[in-house]
C-alpha cells in the first residue's frame, strides 16, 4: 500500500518535471538542435543559399575543407586568439580579483570600473579600439613627442595583439567578478590553518586559493575558450578580418563563405566543424578541470 502510494507520487512528480522542462525543451530543440541538423544536412549539398537546386554531394565539402588554405588559416588565427585570451584573461582576472579581495581602498569603484566594459557591445568595443589605435593614441604620441607604434590593427603582424588587448579590456572585469565571488566563498579557517602551519602568502595562494577556486576556474576557462572560438562581432567593426585575411576568424570565414560567397553548403560544413570543435574543447576542459576541483 505504502509502495503504491510512493509510486503514484513518483509518477506525479515525473509529470510535473516533464511539464516544467517542456518549454525549454521545445525552445532548445527548435532554436538549436533542428538548425544544427539542418546545417549538417546542407553541408552534404552544394546549395548556394538562393537557388532551388540543391544537389547531394556526400562528404565532398568536408574533404575540400582539408585542402582549403583559407579555412585552415582562419582556424589558426582563431586558435591563437583563443589561447591568448584564455591565458591573459584568466591570469589577469584572477590577479585583479585577488587584489580586490585583499581589502584595498575604493574596492567598489575598481570593481565597477573593470566590469563596465563588458556591458558594451563587442561591435562598439571594436570601433572604440579602432579609433583608439588610429586616432587617440597617435595623438598622445604626438603630444608626448614619443614614437610608439600604436597602429596595431593596421599590420598583419600586430593585429592579433591589438585584438587581444581590445578583447581582454572588455572581458577581464567579467571573469574577475566570478573569481571574486569564488574567493569570497573560501572559508577563512583554511587560510588560518595554513598560516598556523607556517605557509606564506605564495604557498597559501597556490595550496589554498587555487584549489578552492577550481570550480570558478572551470567556468572561466570554458567560458573564455568557447567565447573566443566564436569571435566575430569584435572583428566586424574593427579589422573586418584584415589586413588582408590576417584576422579572419573561423566564424567570419564561415559567414563570408556561406553568405557573401554563396556557398551555403560548404559554409555549413565549416559550421559543423566549429560545433564539433566547441564540444570537444568544452568536454576536455570540463573533464580535466573537474578532476582538480575540491570541496571545502
Amino acid at each position: 500500500m505504502k509502495e503504491k502510494r510512493y509510486l503514484g507520487m513518483e509518477k506525479k512528480l515525473a509529470r510535473q518535471y516533464f511539464i516544467l522542462i517542456v518549454p525549454g525543451f521545445l525552445i532548445f530543440t527548435v532554436g538549436l538542435i533542428i538548425p544544427l541538423f539542418l546545417s549538417f544536412r546542407y553541408s552534404l549539398t552544394d546549395w548556394d543559399g538562393m537557388s532551388a537546386n540543391m544537389k547531394f554531394i556526400g562528404l565532398k565539402n568536408y574533404i575540400d575543407l582539408f585542402h582549403d588554405k583559407e579555412f585552415i588559416e582562419s582556424w589558426w588565427f582563431t586558435v591563437k586568439f583563443t589561447i591568448g585570451n584564455t591565458i591573459i584573461q584568466n591570469i589577469c582576472a584572477l590577479l585583479f580579483a585577488v587584489a580586490l579581495d585583499s581589502g584595498i581602498k575604493a574596492q567598489k569603484f575598481y570593481r565597477a570600473a573593470f566590469f563596465i566594459p563588458c556591458l558594451i557591445s563587442a561591435v562598439i568595443v571594436g570601433f572604440v579600439w579602432l579609433k583608439m589605435y588610429s586616432n587617440v593614441l597617435p595623438a598622445i604620441n604626438q603630444w608626448l613627442g614619443t614614437n610608439f607604434n600604436f597602429m596595431l590593427f593596421g599590420n598583419a603582424k600586430t593585429v592579433l595583439g591589438g585584438l587581444l588587448i581590445a578583447n581582454n579590456w572588455q572581458w577581464i572585469g567579467y571573469w574577475m567578478l566570478i573569481y571574486l565571488a569564488g574567493l569570497q566563498s573560501v572559508p577563512a579557517e583554511l587560510y588560518e590553518a595554513a598560516r598556523v602551519d607556517g605557509a606564506g602568502p605564495v604557498k597559501r595562494f597556490f595550496h589554498v586559493t587555487i584549489p578552492m577556486l577550481a570550480p570558478a576556474i572551470t567556468i572561466c576557462v570554458v567560458g573564455i575558450t568557447t567565447g573566443s572560438l566564436k569571435v566575430y562581432d569584435l572583428l566586424i567593426s574593427s579589422t573586418k578580418g584584415g589586413p588582408g585575411r590576417a584576422s579572419t576568424s573561423i566564424i567570419y570565414q564561415t559567414y563570408t563563405t556561406a553568405i557573401n560567397g554563396r556557398q551555403y553548403g560548404y559554409g555549413s560544413a565549416m559550421t559543423v566543424t566549429l560545433v564539433l570543435m566547441l564540444l570537444l574543447v568544452a568536454l576536455i576542459q570540463v573533464k580535466g578541470l573537474k578532476n582538480k576541483e575540491v570541496q571545502a
Partner: protein, 441 residues
C-alpha cells in the same frame, strides 16, 4: 524508463525537424523562385484591390554610405501624393548586408520593393524573383540607365542615380604646383614624384576598408582590361584567360602597389571619413574614389575645390567610371503591384523629391530633365568626359566578376600582398582559384 522516453522524444523531434526542414527547404525555394511566374497572374488580379485601400509595402534598402536618410524624403513625398500607401523600411548597408538579407528573403518571400545597385539585377533576375518595371516609369529615366538592368528584353530595375569614380584631385594644389591632368602613367608618375619631392602625400587612401581596395581595383580593371576585352570575365570562366597570365590584369593589380607606396603609412588603420578629411585639409593631392566621397568633402569644407579624372591606363585612353547606383527592384510575387506603381510614380515624376535626393546624396541624376542643384566642383570635369564619350559603365565589369564572394575576397589577398604577407603571384593565383565564385548564377 523515463530517461528512455525523454531520449526517444528528443530523437524523434530532431528527426522530425530534419525531415521537415529538408522538405520545406525544397518547396520554399521552389516557391520563392519558380513559383513567382505562376503566382504573378494571381497577384495581378489581386492587385486591383489596392486601389483606394491602405497598403503597407515592405522595402529592403541596401544603401551606400551616401544614401542613409533618403527614406524619410520618399516617405514624405509619398504621403503627400498617395497617403494610402506607406512604406515599411529595412535599411541595411549594401556592401555587407544586402546580399545576406536577400538570401534570407529568398527563403521566406521577398519584400515588395528592393533597393540595391544595378549589378543586383544580374544576380537576382535570372532566378525569376524580380518583377519587370513598367515602361511608364522607365521612360522617365535616361536610356543609358536601362542597358545593364535589362535581361532578355525585360527590364527589372529602375536606376535612379549614378556615381562617378576616378581620381579626385585637389584643384588648388594642382594649380599651385602647375600639375596638368595626367593622361598616361608617365604623366601620373611625374606628379607623384613631384609630390614626394615636395613632401606632399600623393594619394589619400583608407585601406582598412577592404571594399575600397576592391573598388579601386575594379576601376583599374575597367580601364586596363574590360575597355579592351569587354568579355574578359566570361573568357576567365571559360579558361581562356587568367589573372596569373594576363599582363593587363596584373598591371591593374600592380596599381594598388603604386597607391600603397604613395599614401599615408597608416592607410590600413584609416577609415574613409578620416581619409576624406585629410584630403580636404590638403594632406594629400589625390584620392582614387567615387562620388560617395563628395558628401564628406563638402561636409568638411563646403568651399573645397576638387575635380576628377580617370585613373590613367597603359594605353592613355582611360575613361571616367560611371556606376548606376540606387536601383529600384520589385518582387515578382508581390500582392500590391498597384501600390508599387504608385511608389515608382512618385520616384520618377516628383522632380522636387528627385532633386532633394540628388542634392543630399551628392550624386548624378538618372532621370530625364532632372538635375541636382548642389554645387559640385567636379561637375565641370564630368561634363567634359561625358561630352567626349570618355565614360564607361562599371556594371560591365561588376556583372562579369561579382562583388560578393569574388572582388571582395580578391581585395583581401591584394591587401595581404601589399602587407608583404603573400607574394604577388599568390594574390593572382587566389583570384584564379576563386573562379567558381566569380559569377552569381
Amino acid at each position: 524508463m523515463r530517461r528512455k522516453v525523454v531520449s526517444a522524444m528528443l530523437l524523434l523531434s530532431m528527426m522530425a525537424g530534419l525531415f521537415a526542414g529538408c522538405g520545406s527547404s525544397t518547396s520554399e525555394s521552389t516557391g520563392g523562385n519558380t513559383g513567382t511566374a505562376k503566382e504573378e497572374g494571381t497577384e495581378a488580379s489581386d492587385s486591383s484591390d489596392d486601389a483606394g485601400d491602405e497598403v503597407t509595402l515592405t522595402v529592403l534598402a541596401g544603401q551606400s554610405t551616401t544614401d542613409a536618410g533618403i527614406e524619410d524624403m520618399i516617405d514624405e513625398a509619398l504621403a503627400e501624393k498617395y497617403p494610402e500607401v506607406t512604406l515599411e523600411w529595412e535599411c541595411v548597408d549594401w556592401g555587407n548586408d544586402f546580399q545576406p538579407k536577400m538570401q534570407q528573403y529568398m527563403q521566406s518571400g521577398l519584400p515588395d520593393i528592393m533597393i540595391g545597385k544595378a549589378q543586383d539585377v544580374a544576380t537576382y533576375a535570372p532566378l525569376g524573383v524580380l518583377g519587370t518595371i513598367d515602361d511608364t516609369y522607365l521612360d522617365k529615366g535616361l536610356d543609358a540607365a536601362r542597358e545593364n538592368v535589362t535581361i532578355d528584353g525585360s527590364t527589372y530595375g529602375l536606376v535612379y542615380n549614378a556615381l562617378y569614380q576616378g581620381v579626385y584631385y585637389n584643384k588648388t594644389m594642382f594649380k599651385e604646383n602647375g600639375w596638368e591632368i595626367p593622361k598616361t602613367m608617365d604623366d601620373l608618375q611625374k606628379i607623384i614624384d613631384d609630390c614626394n619631392a615636395k613632401g606632399i602625400t600623393p594619394f589619400a587612401s583608407h585601406m582598412v576598408d577592404t571594399w575600397s581596395i576592391g573598388n579601386v581595383t575594379m576601376q583599374f580593371m575597367m580601364n586596363d582590361v574590360f575597355n579592351h576585352t569587354p568579355d574578359w570575365g566570361d573568357q576567365f570562366r571559360d579558361g581562356k584567360v587568367s589573372f596569373s597570365e594576363d599582363k593587363n590584369m596584373q598591371t591593374a593589380y600592380q596599381y594598388n602597389k603604386l597607391i600603397f607606396d604613395n599614401t599615408f603609412p597608416e592607410t590600413f588603420s584609416t577609415e574613409q571619413t578620416d581619409c576624406d578629411a585629410k584630403m580636404v585639409l590638403g594632406e594629400a593631392a589625390m584620392k582614387v574614389s567615387g562620388s560617395w566621397s563628395i558628401q564628406n568633402f563638402l561636409d568638411i569644407d563646403e568651399n573645397f575645390d576638387f575635380g576628377i579624372f580617370p585613373f590613367p591606363n597603359q594605353t592613355g585612353d582611360s575613361k571616367l567610371i560611371f556606376e548606376p547606383n540606387i536601383t529600384v527592384m520589385t518582387s515578382a510575387a508581390t500582392k500590391h503591384q498597384d501600390a508599387i506603381d504608385k511608389v515608382l510614380d512618385v520616384l520618377t515624376s516628383d522632380t522636387e523629391l528627385a532633386t532633394e535626393i540628388y542634392d543630399y546624396t551628392k550624386t548624378a541624376s538618372m532621370l530625364k530633365d532632372v538635375s541636382p542643384t548642389f554645387e559640385n566642383p567636379s561637375q565641370e570635369d564630368i561634363d567634359k568626359y561625358a561630352a567626349s564619350g570618355d565614360i564607361v559603365d562599371v556594371t560591365l565589369g561588376n556583372n562579369q566578376l561579382v562583388w560578393g564572394g569574388f572582388q571582395e575576397e580578391n581585395a583581401k589577398y591584394i591587401a595581404s600582398w601589399l602587407q608583404g604577407e603573400i607574394s604577388f603571384e599568390d594574390a593572382l593565383k587566389a583570384s584564379d582559384d576563386r573562379v567558381g565564385a566569380s559569377k552569381a548564377n
